[in-house]
Chain length 438, copies 2
């Protein structure tokens, strides 16, 4: 007997069986429909790129996690680890073919050799959407509104989008002479929800001294209504200087847009939201599901002022966001808003005689044309066996054709869950019953 290779997959990688894959695809379809309704368009880029392009100036974590190797031609290549870097390269490379502002989405897999002990996957799907080539607050707001609409369209319920402005925070840090330590401070503040107030204060104290650490805590803990919070933040950032800052103006403008669209209840101004990544320069935001704060942000992003800077001398500002698809699916399952899908067509045509497969397919064709997915069984097993198989596959109905002249004789329709038959039905009657049964 031949040797068998044990079938196995790599740690951190997953197969998607039909139940899970149908769910994923349906979710992606609804997300895409929402994006398209706002005039966003899809792009795709290669999975494999020059390592030099993907790594850019290089950088700690990324460099350690990236799947990198030499191809047949000796080229130094790597699998993409996100969709942002390929988009920056795409933008620089196709600049002359695109009309700005350019609104694109990209839903695709990325790879990171993460430590799987933390429950991380090494292959996962990202879902990015961005508006590049506009610095307008209207563009910031469109991304925020689209986040809200899309999460609502996929049944995530009434979400809360927490937003902040990195520029305002940096203005405040400059005011207290801590501007140069901004990246470190942003990273510490980003961990507030995870490590708690005390630990955050301790880390800030080590970096800034006790007094300034307390001031920073005061800023990031400002809360209340959007208006009150914004006034507090502005006061911190302005010190004794009266009036608003350009960043506060933008946040006031966003507030107006929220009110004019009747969506103000979905947004919270939260000065502790920073997003760890360095490239954001303007508004930043995270989204939490109602009743599921522990799952973390399912959709986050922000404004950057120079996305393609590594590859182009043209400065292209943009604003964008990313949906954590895997996290969202887990969340929706918890919310029971996305129950297991059938992995089978609802209707099965039973097989009475093997030689009538053509007639059965013709019959099935009528149901398919009427919009009812329909499976034809191939083998003339005992009917009870066919019922068991249909149930196992997740079908809800079995249509039993006559032994002779199956196309011209009435059908019997079995409702599997009830083990109940209705006899002498035309195919139209069967279609009507199936369509009218919830």
């Amino acid at each position: 007997m031949a040797d068998i290779i044990t079938p196995k997959i790599l740690k951190g990688f997953r197969d998607f069986l039909p139940g899970a894959e149908i769910k994923r695809r349906d979710l992606v379809e609804r997300i895409e429909k929402s994006f398209r309704s706002y005039g966003f368009v899809p792009i795709d880029t290669p999975v494999l790129e020059y390592a030099e392009i993907l790594l850019g100036k290089g950088g700690g974590e990324t460099e350690k996690q990236i799947y990198r190797f030499h191809d047949h031609g000796g080229r130094d290549v790597a699998l993409r680890f996100d969709l942002t870097v390929p988009f920056a390269r795409f933008l620089a490379e196709h600049r002359s073919e695109l009309t700005l502002p350019f609104k694109r989405y990209h839903i695709a897999k990325v790879w990171r050799g993460e430590n799987t002990q933390r429950g991380r996957y090494r292959e996962f799907t990202q879902c990015d959407f961005d508006i590049v080539g506009s610095d307008s607050p209207a563009a910031d707001f469109e991304i925020l509104l689209l986040m809200r609409d899309t999460l609502s369209a996929i049944g995530a319920g009434e979400v809360t989008i927490r937003l902040n402005h990195r520029g305002l925070f940096n203005r405040f840090l400059a005011k207290i002479n801590a501007g140069e330590k901004s990246p470190e401070i942003l990273r510490i503040v980003d961990k507030l929800a995870k490590i708690g107030r005390e630990e955050t204060g301790k880390l800030l104290g080590e970096l800034l001294g006790e007094a300034r650490a307390q001031t920073v805590l005061g800023y990031i803990e400002a809360h209340g209504s959007y208006e009150d919070t914004l006034r507090t933040m502005t006061r911190f950032a302005q010190g004794d200087t009266p009036g608003d800052t350009p960043e506060s103006d933008r946040l006031w403008m966003l507030r107006r847009f929220m009110e004019d669209t009747g969506t103000a209840a979905s947004f919270v101004l939260d000065p502790s939201i920073t997003r760890g990544l360095d490239y954001y320069t303007g508004v930043v935001y995270e989204t939490f599901l109602p009743g599921l704060p522990e799952i973390g942000s399912v959709c986050s992003g922000g404004r950057y002022d120079n996305l393609a800077g590594l590859y182009s001398r043209e400065k292209i500002p943009g604003v964008g966001s990313s949906i954590g698809l895997d996290r969202l699916i887990a969340a929706l399952e918890t919310l029971e808003k996305n129950t297991e899908k059938n992995t089978c067509a609802p209707l099965v045509i039973a097989c009475i005689r093997e030689e009538d497969a053509g007639a059965y397919q013709r019959l099935a064709g009528r149901f398919r044309e009427a919009g009812i997915a329909c499976e034809v069984f191939f083998e003339p097993k005992k009917l009870t066996q066919q019922f068991i198989l249909a149930e196992k596959k997740g079908a809800r109905w079995v249509a039993i054709p006559a032994g002779e002249a199956p196309l011209d004789s009435p059908l019997t329709l079995r409702k599997i869950a009830l083990r109940k038959d209705q006899e002498h039905l035309s195919w139209e009657e069967v279609a009507r019953i199936i369509q009218e049964t919830p």
Copy 2:
């Protein structure tokens, strides 16, 4: 000034700009809808697998072309080069979770380090669909019917599916004592259309001698009606033995199914179709588009008797097919049945005052809910500039809100192609005009 990294992609790899990507996604959506209507379900597998799994017993061309490397953990891994091998592994690994017959489809990218000089891509999309766990001719037929229906659903027109039976051909080869050379003969015959009759005869002559080469040519050149061709093939395979072979019986059964579904005109029995790959054991088929034989087969496949044999001792027969998506898109472009899609929503809301972005989004929301994708412009540029931008992006209409109270005032609607405005319209009237204009 900072150094710029020249943006470039790897040879044999492609970016998909919105126009092309929208086309691809719409095509995939229609293909999936057709698959699902027959009760086929999607799966997905990792892009990266153990090289040992993907290469199996190893093998010339594949081994040379596969992208293979060692990951961070020192594992010997590779990018999948097709969707068949991962499916075989999937089947063996998840056998206990699946109900047979199992009908799955998988649409995903694969990678091969092909010679790009022949216009081949190194990253391309495959679209496979299979029924495993049934040896019934009804399963063979369902794949054939689904190929026909799917190609029709995507606008490929009246296709011709050419089919053959490998088993019958092998029976014939055994009859003329050439059974042991079957793989080489199959490979030579597979090239008939490419290298011509004379060269095929020469190669067969070198392998089998002149007399047997002529007999093989006689077999593969049998043509006429399905019935006549099948009778000729059976006679060749049976020699002096009267009656049909099991393989002929199956081909007769398929003929009956074609007639019973009224699809006989779409199928041609062609004894020269062999499919080069070794693992087919039963029916095999290729599909040519009307008027475009030179583009080659856009959908092909066949029956195999032991798909998961490398990974499992259970023998699982199956039948399947694969759509060449890239080739098909090229073909549809030639047929002009898939013209360039707009890369923009049909309707744009012009921007009069920046601070009214909320009102514009609310207005846009009404159109989106009515099923009209709608883009909102962010910057209050001159209207003529906004018209130019809208046209460049591919929009067809611009709705111009009033400067004051944009939600409560009538709209002006510009039809871009005609440079013509209609004034004093409610949003409902605008929606109706857009929906009713072809």
